[in-house]
């Protein structure tokens, strides 16, 4: 056993080792993320613009449904203009979260041919899907601020903290993607399960309505639901110009670190069988 362990040393994936291997492949991760982003709509007339058009359409639909037909029940105390911004601040990060989890789940399977032939660390491919999402999120952040200005919300110094929150959010995405990508290699059904869970998850997260709109019991669920904290933080920084308290920051940072650590240790534990199962 001791000898097997020493041979396995080369593959040890700890959080520190994880980031070291990601750093040494940073050029590949970034160029792959940019390529992926370009190719998703390659050959289409509007190209990268589709990344923005698709979520904006959805925002328009939710806006009409919630603020007109449902008599503003979801929007709470907000005016129609503020609700539009409110929606954007929820849906755009959620889009990235859902995209990241969905594609992260298949990140290792999709790169099977590389993993079976090259000694490249597994986490690199997961990081690449998260980096793609990160670029999209950057694009969305710009769109988000544009929508805010368009709806007469003044530029505020608190906006500078939005990228920090989103970066922590991407950390959570990366950790979840690591866990799901690893498990999916062994159990392919996870891909289907994830797409179902995400639909329910969407409605358990205060994306299109205020976090208190569904009554006290569901409010508690939402409080503990990981993406909630990040979405609320973005919303407050953007619309209300309030900075999250130290407890919120600790919670967001802790969630991100915990999910990455869980993903790294999962990968480390299963690494010896992972490529055999591909």
């Amino acid at each position: 056993m001791a000898s097997a362990a020493s041979a396995a040393v080369h593959h040890r994936v700890e959080v520190g080792g994880l980031f070291a291997s990601l750093w040494s492949h940073r050029h590949y991760i970034l160029s792959g993320a940019v390529r992926e982003l370009r190719q998703r709509y390659a050959g289409s007339g509007m190209g990268v613009l589709w990344h923005v058009v698709t979520p904006l359409t959805q925002i328009a639909v939710y806006f009409v449904v919630f603020s007109r037909f449902m008599g503003g029940r979801g929007s709470g105390a907000y005016s129609a203009e503020a609700y539009a911004v409110f929606l954007c601040a929820g849906i755009l990060p959620w889009f990235v979260f859902a995209d990241c989890v969905t594609r992260g789940t298949t990140a290792l399977l999709a790169n099977e041919s590389y993993l079976k032939k090259l000694a490249i660390p597994e986490a690199v491919f997961v990081a690449q899907t998260v980096a793609t999402s990160g670029l999209t999120l950057g694009l969305y952040t710009v769109a988000l601020m544009a929508v805010a200005l368009f709806n007469h919300i003044p530029v505020r110094p608190t906006w500078a903290l939005i990228p920090v929150v989103l970066l922590l959010f991407l950390g959570l995405c990366f950790g979840l993607a690591l866990i799901l990508a690893t498990v999916t290699v062994f159990f392919r059904d996870v891909t289907q399960i994830v797409s179902i869970v995400l639909q329910v998850w969407f409605w358990l997260t205060p994306v299109v309505y205020h976090e208190t709109a569904l009554g006290p019991r569901l409010t508690a669920v939402m409080t503990w639901n990981p993406p909630t904290a990040y979405i609320l933080a973005v919303r407050r920084l953007l619309v209300d110009a309030t900075v999250p308290g130290p407890g919120d920051w600790a919670w967001m940072t802790g969630l991100a670190l915990l999910s990455i650590a869980a993903g790294a240790s999962m990968l480390q534990r299963l690494a010896s069988d992972l490529r055999d199962a591909l």
Binding site: K117, F186, R188
Partner: protein, 467 residues
């Protein structure tokens, strides 16, 4: 420092767990391994060897014997189940599959850069000069700057090898890389590997190509069903391999032109032109004072062909035309094997055959009849004319010419080429005479008549009958 081997492998084993359904794995996970539902498959077991610095170490064995699994473990793609290995090299590259990282929408140039990132190479490894060298080596012309979607599979492989050929690793892991591309590219790859070896690169080399193994490697490991069947000098290892597997050779190749066989002893200029194999755009050098305008290859039945059985003869007819006065013309042939080794080179001058002096406008058909007493495989050849050290006209990289072994019996010989060999034996005697008088062992037997029977190669026998 140098006494430490580059690669040290001890008791290495790799087990694959085989599950019937995903539920069986789930059950093992849920019970933390207390329930056993998988069956084990040991792809490798008890493998130990070491590779000194600067050496080329070969791994051979039948299909499914674990060669690729071994390379994958040593390249750190797969983790070993037991045993240890140590690779003491800062840079190790693996050609497990050429062009694995290639993307169809990127150009050849972009793909080379992308692959370098995939391998985690620092960007300065791919300065423009190096990329240009790779471009020249791949030799795919304008395609280098076109998307890979438009590439043929051969171009794909050329690009893949070009990338690795210009990195300078301490250890290069090669899996069947020499069996890719056409024979001209294979010769180029073999030359490149030789150059890397001289520059100090070590190799771990897996191949079914026994000649490549014998030529490149000093020590070879023979695997059989995941176990070590033999470890030792390459020539002995290759013999073990041959005795382990016997594979039938491919049947005779197609006849090039369906035409009435031409059985005349010689050919006219028009005959040679009719079956000309020289291409106007081929590789050629010389000042062409004495030009080879056509060449034709026929077998003994008069069929045009580029395939020939082991120890069978081909006629190579050359039509040469003088554009100036040539007092002592000579025509000749050069043959290379697929690794670019010069197998044979001779001209009419070497044979003591003097061709007549030629004047401007004269033409002459020269027939070179060559018996291919070489091992089966693909060969390239050059034909040309010369005169006292001056090259007149050489056509290069012709072929490939395929030499095959027909039938299911053992080939008439192993190795690069046949040396004329005769075997004889004496009468059968009783051993007791020697047993009683051990001092006599080694002394000449009292019989004078040794030659009772003898064996010769069939070619020699035919010649003897013909004389």
């Amino acid at each position: 420092m140098t006494s430490r081997p580059l690669v040290q492998v001890e008791g290495l084993g790799k087990r694959f767990k085989i599950y019937g359904t995903p539920w069986e794995r789930a059950l093992e996970w849920v019970t933390a391994g207390r329930v056993h539902r998988h069956s084990d498959f040991w792809a490798l077991r008890d493998i130990s060897f070491s590779v000194p610095r600067g050496e080329c170490f070969g791994v051979i064995g039948p299909n499914g014997s674990g060669k690729t699994t071994l390379l994958k473990v040593l390249s750190r793609v797969l983790q070993p189940t037991e045993g240890t290995f140590h690779v003491d090299a800062p840079s190790v590259y693996s050609l497990l599959e050429l062009g694995t990282g290639f993307h169809p929408d990127l150009t050849g140039r972009e793909n080379i850069k992308e692959s370098a990132r995939l391998l985690g190479l620092p960007p300065e490894m791919l300065r423009d000069g190096v990329v240009e060298e790779m471009r020249a080596f791949a030799d795919i012309g304008d395609f280098f700057d076109r998307p890979l979607r438009f590439y043929s599979s051969g171009m794909h492989v050329r690009l893949g090898f070009a990338l690795f050929a210009f990195l300078k690793p301490d250890l290069l892991v090669v899996d069947e890389a020499l069996s890719v591309g056409d024979i001209f590219f294979q010769q180029k790859c073999a030359a490149r590997i030789e150059a890397l070896r001289e520059a100090g690169t070590s190799f771990l080399f897996v191949s079914h190509d026994m000649e490549a193994v014998r030529k490149l490697c000093r020590e070879v490991l023979v695997l059989e069903a995941g176990r070590m069947a033999f470890l030792g000098p390459s020539s002995e290892a290759v013999n073990r391999y041959h005795s382990m597997v016997f594979r039938g050779r491919p049947p005779r190749g197609p006849i090039l032109h369906e035409r009435q066989p031409d059985l005349r002893a010689g050919m006219t200029a028009a005959d040679v032109r009719r079956g000309n194999i020289l291409r106007p755009d081929g590789h050629r050098h010389g000042d062409r004072g004495l030009e080879v305008v056509a060449a034709r290859l026929t077998d003994l039945d008069g069929h045009d062909t580029l395939t020939v059985g082991m120890k069978e003869t081909l006629h190579i007819d050359l039509l040469i035309v003088a554009h100036e006065s040539v007092a002592q013309p000579s025509a000749g042939l050069v043959v290379f094997d697929r690794l670019g080794t010069l197998v044979f080179s001779a001209g009419t001058g070497n044979l003591g055959h003097r061709l007549p002096a030629l004047h401007p406008g004269d033409s002459l058909v020269v027939r070179l009849s060559v018996t291919f007493s070489v091992q089966p495989g693909k060969y390239t050849f050059n034909v040309g004319t010369a005169e006292l050290g001056r090259v007149h006209d050489w056509h290069e990289r012709l072929g490939p010419l395929e030499v095959f072994h027909e039938g299911t019996g053992p080939p008439p010989f192993h190795g690069l080429a046949e040396l004329p060999m005769v075997s004889r034996h004496g009468p059968v005697e009783r051993l007791e005479e020697y047993a009683r008088q051990p001092a006599l062992v080694g002394a000449a037997p009292g019989r004078s008549e040794l030659e009772i029977e003898e064996g010769r190669g069939p070619a020699d026998g035919e010649k003897a009958e013909g004389e």
